[in-house]
Amino acid sequence: MPVLWIVLAVFGLGLIGYFVGRLRALGSAGGDARTLHSLPSYYGWHAFMLTVAPALLVLAAWSLLAPNLIDRSVSETIPEATIADASNASLVLAEVRRAAGALDAAVAQGLVDQETSRNLHTESTDVTALLKETGSVITSAVTQPILQAAQEFRALTKRSNLYRTITTFALALIGFGFAIKRTHKDFRARNVVENGIMVILVLASSIAILTTVGIVLSMLFETSHFFGLYSWREFFLGTKWSPDFRGDSQLGILPLLWGTLYISLVALLVAVPIGLFAAIYLSEYAGPRLRAVAKPMIEILAGIPTIVYGLFALITIGPMIRDWIAQPLGLGNSSNSVMTAGLVMGVMLIPFVSSLSDDIINAVPQAMRDGSFGLGATHSETIKQVVLPAALPGIVGAILLAASRAIGETMIVVMGAGAAAAQMDQGLGEIINPFQAMTTVTVKIVSQLTGDTDFASPETLVAFALGLSLFVITLGLNVLALYIVRKYREQYE
């Protein structure tokens, strides 16, 4: 029975539970809702909750865990030799799963009947051809051990699904019966329902933690794989990035890190002065009319997706910089460059810096400004010597957040910065020329993980190590920035 149907059936039972519970509560009160402890609908919800919640929880847990257990017991039946041929147990398993899926498809399409499908043998039938006929993707010839494992897989899956259905329905019925039995006019249904809702609320809140755990675990796991295949020393200290899918790659993070930091630096050099001055002007000088026009316009920049900036870098800014600056000065011939990506990213960060700074400048109490004006300071003196120093911690926090954004930004660098890693062995001149293409950590994560990937090779797995490094760096910046900003807010609250 497909999961969707089970879920719908359980919900149907829950709905019946709602009405039965409600009626029973009213019945026990002699039809007078006022003598009930809770409103009648709470008795209904109580029954619904007890019917649906345990059943679906078990269903979900079963669906998540069973495939793993089945995989494990199936892989035990596969002979060692087969695994050795394919070099990797997970690849064999994938093949088994595909074969099992194709067999099911064959039965569904009527190519073979259920009985024969169980007794197929590679020597008597061309199973590979049969399975290909179903339109399934079968990459290599199906051998007898694989077929056997696939049969085992099908049998186990079938049994698991049957038990799953039975357990789910049994739980739903038990819950239903228990809830109905409990329903009585003095029963505190509202409290039970509210506790149930509270559990849902807590679970929803813990998704944030689960996400972080998921991020860290998924990357840690694959990164440890990577460091099993490639020395961590060479990864962190290597000055050369030249992946080669035939093996013998050099995967040093330093050139990528340099590219990332250099582009981020250019971006911040653009965004911080412009964003800060714009924020100062808008919050301190601009009249209501200018503010009503200019503030939203700058904020629009924040709402534009990064892919748009990427395209802007690719088709407008890149060629512009190449034709007007880089080529006349003989500094480079590439429209992809540190400058292109940095400038465009800087534009993207302007609203980020300006709106954060705006908030922070506005949080400086008016009394400070009055004190300065009262002494005869000009407006700019007040800003430079009183407002900005008072707002400094907050602004530093904003800049750190912007830096974290810049480091983690992907699309602009993918489309504007280029794919060639900095040549760190070519001397300083090569690596600080801003008109040269340079690649970043994020670009390489994308390029190593898109297209045909083999999750057993260091060239693919390195992306997870890069991702983890990126995560750690940005996490550090974020935590620092949030800490500074929070400290600053407390100061004026």
Binding site: I209, M219, Y281, V308, I315, S404, F464, L482
Partner: protein, 452 residues
């Protein structure tokens, strides 16, 4: 405590204040620096606004032509001898004729149209003449015949897409000079196109197919559309909305209304503020590792994209919702509790409805962010070339699909410059969606904003 005797030094420091009506030199200098400072501020705003305008005009000027397309109108004789040799209109046999069988019919149609209009171009072979029509035309013809087998034998008028280079000629991308150097188009072909245009057989008109049709392969940019990408983005937005809104609201209610001050709450809070600033590509890695490699969900599927974007959008929605809940004054809660409502009832009956406009605004803004997100989707395989429309939900959620921003990226990696126009056009559509969403958010905020 007093210091009345220290007149000496202060008297020296004390400057005789001059008339107020005359500015002294120092004041003049200070005022000049004040003016400079203001000018810096104005310049900064000017640069910001100029960057926005440059960006928008660049995208608009590149992308607007994508909505116009050049078409060639031809009368095609659906030759029975070629399409249905046995003449029994058996649909299965008709289907066996491939697009190669249809191409000559189109060439003949073009030839007869040229004769009709008295066009003859020196040095233009029949093959080259046929080249001005998109390679997509044969497929279009075949689909028509399979849908209407009864028309075989008749002459039917068709509007075919012109080849991308011919289209580019009318959009200024291709010129006679560039055609000389181009292997894909010759000046003669352009002359033919001009002649057809004069004869009314070649027109440039609004191109709905760009919005509704699927992507096309590398060498036929003229046929590429964003239909699949729009559907894919739409599916993902549905998933994000259905998952992120309830989860986000539930989490916010707990954190804002019920959570005790303890380490668990602190942990959640720190997590949420950090997740809001984690680079989006990290979510892509998460999606790839957890949902695809571990969970076994299909690549390129909207369900995976939707899940990843949900996780990304949650912090935004939670932060907005909490701010909105916080702005409902405590007196409302006290009033509800005062008449004997439980805490849960006071929140769900009074606080939540009052906070709803703010929550919806935050949700729409979160959705808008998710709609424009590209990097994580690339990692879960959405860059793949997808020609087939996904089926209706819920099965469609598991079919391969593209997404608007990823489609844009995909097109920018292709060689033909016509795809740059397509990419910019797709961006315009994307920006229109974002504009609408933000407008709704602004209207919601204006309409329901409440000041306590």
């Amino acid at each position: 405590m007093t210091d009345a005797t220290s007149n000496g030094p202060t008297a020296r420091a004390k400057k005789e204040h001059g008339s107020l009506l005359v500015q002294d030199a120092l004041t003049k200098r200070r005022n000049a620096s004040e003016r400079r400072f203001r000018a810096y501020g104005l310049t900064a705003i000017g640069i910001g606004v100029a960057a926005l305008i440059l960006l928008l005009t660049s995208i608009l000027s590149q992308g607007l032509p994508a909505f116009q397309q050049t078409f060639v109108t031809l009368d095609v004789v659906l030759d029975e001898a070629k399409l249905d040799k046995k003449g029994n209109r058996n649909i299965d046999e008709i289907k066996k004729v491939t697009t190669f069988g249809y191409a000559p019919l189109i060439k003949n149609g073009l030839k007869s149209r040229m004769e009709e209009l008295n066009i003859s171009i020196d040095g233009l072979s029949d093959k080259d003449a046929g080249g001005i029509i998109s390679k997509e035309a044969a497929g279009q013809l075949r689909r028509y015949v399979i849908a209407n087998p009864d028309e075989i034998g008749n002459s039917v008028e068709f509007r075919f897409l012109a080849n991308g280079r011919i289209d580019g000629y009318y959009k200024g991308r291709v010129t006679m000079q560039s055609a000389e150097r181009d292997n894909n188009v010759s000046p003669q072909q352009l002359q033919l196109a001009d002649a057809l245009k004069d004869g009314g057989a070649l027109v440039t008109r609004f191109n709905w197919d760009f919005i509704t049709k699927a992507d096309a392969s590398e060498n036929r940019p003229e046929a590429a559309g964003i239909g699949v990408a729009i559907i894919g983005s739409l599916y993902m937005m549905m998933i994000v909305l259905v998952l992120a809104l309830p989860i986000g609201v539930a989490a916010s209610i707990y954190l804002e209304e019920f959570a005790p001050q303890n380490w668990f709450t602190d942990l959640i809070e720190v997590n949420i503020s950090n997740l809001a600033a984690v680079p989006s590509i990290v979510y892509g890695i998460l999606g790839l590792a957890i949902f695809i490699n571990y969970g076994g969900l299909p690549q390129s599927a909207p369900i995976v994209g939707g899940l990843v974007l949900t996780l990304m959008t949650l912090p935004t929605i939670i932060i907005a919702t909490r701010a909105s809940l916080k702005s409902v004054p405590p007196s409302i809660r006290a009033a509800a509790l005062g008449v004997g409502a439980s805490r849960m009832q006071s929140v769900f009956h009074h606080v939540l409805p009052l906070a709803m406009p703010g929550i919806l605004t935050g949700t729409i803004i979160g959705l808008a962010q998710a709609l424009g997100e590209t990097a994580p989707l690339m990692l879960i395989g959405m860059v793949a070339f997808v020609r087939d429309f996904p089926s209706a939900p819920p099965e469609g959620f598991f079919d391969p699909a593209s997404a608007l921003p990823v489609q844009v990226y995909n097109w920018t990696t292709r060689a033909d410059p016509a795809f740059v126009e397509r990419a910019s056009g797709a961006i315009i559509v994307l920006l229109m969606f974002l504009l609408c969403m933000n407008m709704i958010a602004i209207i919601l905020r204006r309409r329901f904003e409440r000041r306590w």
